[in-house]
Amino acid sequence: MPGGKERELRRRISSIQSTKKITRAMELIAATRVVKAMQRADAARPYARQITSVIENLAAGGATVDHPLLREVEDVKRVGFIVIAGDRGLAGAFNTNPIRAAERQLMAHQTEGKDYTLFCIGKKPVAYFRFRNYRVDYAYEGFTADPTYEDARRIADDVANAFISGEVDEVELIYTEFISMGTQRVSIRRFLPLEDTAVMAEGGSGDAEVASAFEFEPSPEAVLESLLPRYIEARLFGALLDNAASEHANRQRAMKSATDNAEDLITKLSREMNAARQASITTEIMEIVGGAEALGSGKDKKSPSFEAASNSTSTATAVLEAGPFGTGSAAPLADGTAPSAAFTIKGNADSMLYHRPDSRSYAVTGAEVWFDSEASAQAAGFTLANTHPSPES
């Protein structure tokens, strides 16, 4: 039934409209959050930069330390993976990309016969790996959208302890790097052991002459030893902040396209609904006309044809003015008789002949038209039939 289809479409449109409102709101929220997250990531940069510069200066100053965080393990038996993603979905491929990358990495190491330890940050990676029966030894949830330094410290402590105790021989960090509003990329980096301080220093300013003049207190080694844990905390914190900014940027994009899609759908369904409504209105009109016709034809059965004739009976004068063959002509009644006594001349439209009452065939002639006078018949182009007694005789 057309009305049913229209109602169904209306229901779908209103449901899509309310979904659109939600996605639009989420888009706007994500847009403000991404700006905040970017500011936080920027604000955290000086600390990371400074701490790196201290390490560079220490390296240039000749600090060589056999620190457990720097120790390379020859035969790697177990690899730790720090997987950072989000707590919540509706952010496009933001959660799946780093999770998939981590899983690939993990399987690659497994084929080499290495074991794994998972440090999952965010509800999504925790749920993903648990569901697939991976061991998730360390799970951290509930802060990926807005991480604090305290969170970074807690995780870095666990990771460092696992590394120092020999539980893992190497640690990889997998997270979504925030490059710009439009670009975020999954990044896989080695987290532990830290590269040698000399390697760290290579990326730096390289003004070793100035650096070597540094005084250290208590000693370069002691400073480095207390600095390294802070360094890995800062690195992890930076990754968490980048990840948070990426999450909001991805969510904004995902929600924007969801809103756009909802708009498209609404337009499409509205058109469909209008067409359905039009169709149902047309059908209704047809039904009304059909019904009226059925009623009307029942009443007028006796005079099925010329409606004009029935009208002409009411006013002979009107007919006189304009009949089917001009002035002075009139259509016959339904039974073929003259509409009024004024019309006495019968006209045969086939032969274009007219008959006066004195014609021999007057009685048998069927009148397609009646004239009130010979003049009217002649004016309409009729000629006198030859069945009349000649005027001479």
């Binding site: 000086p46 600390y47 400074q50 201290v54 200066n57 970074a152 650096a211 207190e217 905390e233 914190f237």
Partner: protein, 131 residues
Amino acid sequence: MFDVQVVSPESVSYTGQAEMVVARTVDGGDIAFQTGHVPFIGTLAVWSVDVIRDDGDRDTFAVHRGFVQVSGDQVTILSDVSESLDAIDVGRAEAAKQRAETALQADADDAEAAAALGRAELRLRVAAGAD
């Protein structure tokens, strides 16, 4: 005159110009930096850092853990736990101090309580020094 920055992991929490900066390093005791100090990197003790401005006023911070780097005319305090004067809650610090003292009376080797006592005393010292 040189630039002073107190940098925390979250942000640069203080920038200013100073005549002198007084800090205390682990094992090294108090150390004061003035213009022209040799480049220096040190681990800070749980102690206060005083930034003395050229008009004689001072800004004091409670630094619970951190590093100081001096190079050229720039002093940078890197600290993941530092508090400026107005961030210190004296009432809370006093309560923490009492709690730590009772814990230490019960167990003199309680390292955590000793550290808590140190932090509380530092906060109170910084707060008192400002008045």
